[in-house]
């Protein structure tokens, strides 16, 4: 798959964007631990859609806005990016922390997006259980905890490089800068989701040890028009652990009339 990397200036910040494929635009919002440059999941989607994978401001190759304080700020920047690119009928695919950002974008612009897919999304206080605290575990143990099958973790990250460890430290710092307290959820977001007109699909790994599945149920209830599905033998980083399955779900959902 031929990917193009570009830089877009949003809110005075150089944002990194990878883009490939053609068809309906799908904006993929990555996890709190950042994202590898390329993933089988991204390729699978790009075979069907015009796929856009920006790095959140401060994550990966995007510059850090010193003033950034909340995922809602990140959501506003991604909305700005979509507007800047002149895209319409965009679908949002939010992965974990990126799911929170996608939900914020949808709540601010309830009729704009074609489809909303939330995979193991943070952003809502789970009615049962807590969102795992990455602050007290190592850079490696946290992503590991997000995989049901450790072979899948090894397949994605291999021998973890020092660069990768540094990146995870940067990602963690950005998570703290934007979602420290309350940790990884908004107290107001659940009240703002009811107006979302875009059909939503809530996807959860049945062994998500980062965000309890009760949060998925809460999202499904709070969104006006949502269905939920679970993936068997799958952890939090579902698009890395079960790329084909998640890509198929997204493809069918985005293309459905």
């Amino acid at each position: 798959m031929a990917w193009t990397d570009t830089v877009k200036e949003i809110a005075g910040i150089k944002m990194h964007l990878s883009r490939a494929g053609s068809g309906r635009p799908v904006l993929v919002l990555h996890h709190d631990i950042g994202t590898p440059e390329r993933l089988p999941f991204y390729d699978a989607l790009a075979a069907k859609f015009d796929v856009l994978v920006p790095h959140h401001p401060g994550w990966g190759k995007s510059e850090r806005p010193q003033w950034l304080r909340h995922p809602r700020d990140i959501a506003a920047m991604h909305s700005w990016l979509v507007t800047e690119l002149g895209l319409t009928d965009v679908s949002l695919v939010g992965l974990g922390f990126g799911g929170w950002i996608a939900a914020e974008m949808a709540s601010q612009s309830p009729a704009t997006y074609r489809r909303l897919v939330l995979v193991g999304a943070m952003g809502i206080k789970p009615p049962e259980g807590d969102i795992a605290d990455q602050a007290i575990v190592s850079y490696i143990d946290y992503p590991r905890a997000g995989f049901h099958n450790q072979d899948a973790f090894a397949a994605v990250y291999g021998d973890i490089s020092i660069d990768q460890l540094e990146q995870w430290d940067v990602c963690r710092e950005m998570s703290f800068r934007t979602a420290w307290k309350p940790y990884m959820y908004s107290q107001t977001l659940p009240h703002l989701l009811g107006g979302v007109r875009s059909p939503a699909l809530v996807v959860w790994g049945d062994d998500d040890r980062i965000v309890p599945i009760s949060a998925g149920k809460a999202y499904t209830k709070a969104l006006g028009n949502a269905t939920m599905t679970t993936i068997a033998a799958c952890g939090h980083f579902a698009e890395m652990e079960k790329p084909d399955e998640i890509a198929r779900l997204v493809t069918d959902f985005v293309n459905a009339n």
């Binding site: 602050a135 007290i136 575990v137 190592s138 850079y139 490696i140 973890i160 020092i162 460890l165 540094e166 995870w168 430290d169 940067v170 963690r172 710092e173 998570s175 703290f176 800068r177 420290w180 307290k181």
Partner: protein
């Protein structure tokens, strides 16, 4: 020279086996292992120890605070400072320090310290620290804004202490629409602020820019000299010459009547270095964003077990050999301390004398020998070397009160 007595106030009465079994003795090590009966006894014994240090001649008592860990019982240093303000008569009460970033209301901090200064009749040294990474996690404070909060809280407290209220504070991390606390410090222009530290270059530079004394916490002699150089270079850039009055040094020293007994008790200094307590995950000590970005690459390797602790992990014998720990009879201790003083030339010296499971009887014998015999000899030695503390040197409390800056015609204020 200003010579202080210091102890971490260890909560030694807990089952060390439980800590070793759990694999950590900090942050998440359960407080069900805390025995408040022993805690009550120890708090009261530590007050007795401080009174003894004053009686036998210490110039100051150094206090600190930590959270969620048995190595230090002080969860709020202002509480012990308040107690000492009332029960002692002469010693300086040296807080090294209040972790400012943990403070959500710097006005309250300024107010508490002003009260302690007045109750102690002007004996308070209200030092400030960033607080260890673990303290941020134990207090739910964002480590990524630690340094910003430290500086802004300091600036607000400084303004409270040097300008009449009411005024308004609209900062990045603190917003207060009415700043006008009625309690203000007795000491003018405001109490001397000292800043302790170990590692970060940014803190050394900031401290030198304020002209506050920097207290190196038991760093090696070589590392201490590097700190002094960094401080002196910054001082020169600010237009003043740093001297012993700008430098403090904390060292572990245990004194007994016999060397054998002193060494046996001094082994307890290892207590908080991971032999019995002080075990913690590296990411607790350095949560992301807390540490200088320049140290990121080395730290992530250490945190994942791929590199050694950048601070090293020397054995007890190695630390005695390198004078990081000094133990012996008064004469032996005086001799070794003179070597350290000669090579580090501090105007302020903290003596961390008791740690871990040293018995009350031995702790108090140590205090008597240390404050009664060792400190006078070191003070005299320091005088010969011209090592003046900030009071003896009549040093300005802050750079802004300097009258000797190069190129400066009159004091800034």
């Amino acid at each position: 020279m200003h010579l202080m007595y210091f102890t971490e106030q260890p909560m030694s009465a807990y089952d060390a086996d439980e800590g070793l079994k759990y694999g950590a003795t900090a942050l998440t090590f359960s407080n069900k292992y805390y025995d408040p009966v022993a805690g009550s006894r120890l708090y009261n014994e530590y007050i007795e120890d401080y009174l003894l240090a004053e009686e036998y001649g210490a110039d100051g008592i150094m206090l600190n605070e930590h959270h969620n860990a048995p190595f230090c019982m002080q969860a709020k240093t202002n509480i012990f400072a308040s107690i000492l303000a009332a029960v002692t008569k002469r010693v300086k009460i040296v807080i090294l320090g209040n972790p400012l970033p943990l403070c959500d209301n710097p006005i309250r901090m300024a107010e508490e310290l002003a009260m302690i200064d007045m109750i102690s009749k002007g004996r308070l040294v209200p030092g400030f620290v960033r607080g260890g990474g673990q303290e941020q996690l134990a207090s739910g404070v964002n480590p990524a804004f630690n340094r910003e909060r430290f500086i802004e809280a300091h600036d607000l407290i400084q303004k409270i202490w040097s300008e009449p209220g009411p005024f308004r504070w609209e900062g990045t991390h603190y917003q207060h629409r009415v700043v006008n606390p009625w309690a203000v410090p007795l000491q003018k222009p405001y109490p001397r602020v000292w800043v302790p530290g170990v590692l970060s270059k940014e803190t050394i530079i900031w401290t030198a820019q304020q002209r506050y004394p920097y207290i190196a916490l038991n760093t090696s002699i070589d590392h201490t000299r590097e700190i002094w150089k960094q401080y002196s270079d910054t001082a020169a850039e600010c237009g003043y010459t740093a001297g012993p009055e700008n430098f403090g040094y904390l060292i572990r020293v245990h004194v007994q009547d016999t060397e054998e007994k002193a060494l046996a008790n001094a082994r307890q200094f290892m207590w908080m270095q991971g032999e019995f307590t002080g075990l913690a995950h590296p990411v607790w000590a350095n949560p992301s964003g807390y540490f200088s970005p320049s140290g990121r690459r080395n730290f992530v390797q250490f945190a994942t077990g791929r590199a050694k602790n950048p601070r090293g992990n020397p054995s007890f014998e190695e630390q005695v050999q390198s004078t990081m720990i000094i133990a012996g009879t008064p004469d032996q201790v005086i001799e070794r301390l003179k070597y350290v003083v000669e090579n580090t030339r501090p105007g302020i010296m903290g003596i961390w004398a008791n740690d871990g499971n040293v018995s009350k009887e031995d702790r108090q014998r140590c205090i008597k020998l240390l404050c009664g015999e060792v400190m006078p000899a070191i003070r005299e030695f320091g005088n010969k070397l011209g090592l003046k503390d900030p009071w003896e040197a009549n040093a300005p409390v802050h750079l802004r009160y300097s009258t000797d800056l190069v190129g400066q015609k009159v004091a800034a204020e």
